[in-house]
Symmetry: C2
Subunit: 350 residues, 2 copies
Amino acid sequence: MENKQKQTPLSELGEFGLIERLTEKIQLKNTSTLKGVGDDAAVLNYPDKKIVVTTDLLTEGIHFNLMYVPLKHLGYKAVVVNLSDVFAMNATPKQITVSIAISSKFSLEAVEELYSGIHLACEKYGVDLIGGDTTSSLTGLTISVTAIGEATDEELAYRSGAQVNDLLCVSGDLGGAYMGLQLLERENEVFKVNPNQQPQFDRYDYILGRQLKPEARGDIKELLKTLNIKPTSMIDISDGLSSEALHLCKASKVGCSIYEEKVPLDSQTKAFAEELSINPLVAALNGGEDYELLFTVPLASFDVLKKEFDITIIGHITAESEGANLITTGGSVIPLQAQGWNPLMNKAKA
Amino acid sequence: MENKQKQTPLSELGEFGLIERLTEKIQLKNTSTLKGVGDDAAVLNYPDKKIVVTTDLLTEGIHFNLMYVPLKHLGYKAVVVNLSDVFAMNATPKQITVSIAISSKFSLEAVEELYSGIHLACEKYGVDLIGGDTTSSLTGLTISVTAIGEATDEELAYRSGAQVNDLLCVSGDLGGAYMGLQLLERENEVFKVNPNQQPQFDRYDYILGRQLKPEARGDIKELLKTLNIKPTSMIDISDGLSSEALHLCKASKVGCSIYEEKVPLDSQTKAFAEELSINPLVAALNGGEDYELLFTVPLASFDVLKKEFDITIIGHITAESEGANLITTGGSVIPLQAQGWNPLMNKAKA
């Protein structure tokens, strides 16, 4: 007699499919819950302030490989990726909680090294470590960080506010973190073959730093405020430009055109991509982990923004019916595809 | 040449020792951070409301054993243990975030089963699930829950407010969850020897429920309000009465006397303890996972509280110099010892 229920492998759904399944029945009940699942952070509603809350879980072998990531860098990065989600709401992070599960292979000194990175990030971004949990795991290291931030109602930028004709902008440059990961992986392979050979990192310090010690763009909120520009929508680029642009378009019920020649790429990103015979644009579109901000502003901001060295106007918002497209240098129109990283498939990041 | 740094095993410090080491350097910087590490929850300060934040990380093989815990119960319990920390601040939980890391052995149906327990707990306690993260792990299941609650300044009860001569009170009864775990472990051993033998749970449904489906005491805040009693201090009993009473005394810089014959024990707790030739008082003092509230109230509340069926006055607060003691039925004075569970030693709970 066969009456077992059908079992669906998680890899069939992917992360976003799974989240959709698990959250579709949620009905918000409390008046202090302004926004639940579906943006970079949830938003809580208090008369004098809006509070944003976001959380990430990082596991060894999936999100990081201790073979080539120093524990201090890992602690720093674990905090920064959460702060990036707060900044992506155009809010200011104020507190974090950090929980870790560690196997008995870790010593006190190793845990202190991890926390030195956590404390360093708190120091740099002015946030308070207010709590957490410390426990053991049978294998490996798991880090869970929750970040809490503040914003006024007027400051908050959701994914859903983009309007047709808005300019689509990005901070910094893209694809560097992905190329840094490729570099680490190459040197790790070389090391396995010949442990005495020194890694070749000198020419690629920038992309290595993008991967190992990313920074969150806490300066953009202030910059836009100074320029008197209010972003209409905002998201952080953790999974690659394609995936994030699609999220933003879906939430705002719009389309977009992104111009290939406008996508900002650093010279090291281009140089190492060339060395590996990769198109650096692919690293920008699908690589992820850049933690830059993708945002939209009214068309009228063009003259002010084009003078800003660290912000690039990469395209504009179109009608939903036109879809989300990449316009190549040759003029071809290619629909963007979310080839972002699927954390439910086992491929370790650095 | 030997110049390696000394490596200290984590088991040497235990959880509280490790937390102390990792948090001793923290200096709070933000005006919205009222209370950081060191109570059941952190407290954020806003003009109109105080916000409490607490988080827990549960790992397979350490905090739960999927051999005898249904996934739905696990999801329910993961939420409840966090809500219990919010209630222990005399606050009301409003939102939670839930992050999970799962290995590929889990199917969609298994994850949905886990979430059905999470949703059930949200429903029962009126909290909103507002976010989280869903990712994979190389082995096993990890669940991280963060709970956010609200209270007015007057309502908040810290661990540090107990005053000499205050009454020491506990909700419900103690030791049941620990005896439930003993029952599950016994039946698991029987099952290993003879898989056809049915487990013997009928007479022990209460203690089994205490272990598998604990409830958080969301009713105590309301009850005390109705009775017009403001608790001077409060903590939830997750690690056993001894450990929690010591935390409370340390934070309040007081001592306490707990009377053996006053410690509330359920009849099933006593019966199964007798069956195993265990003193049920030991389960209450050191067992943990009861998620009842331990709190202090002014002596003047005695007449009102003694009539409350579900609250037991188990002792009183003394001067710090007198220490924290158990007064046995025979009149002996025995110093309380924190023999609570050390999650950095690998002993799996249910």
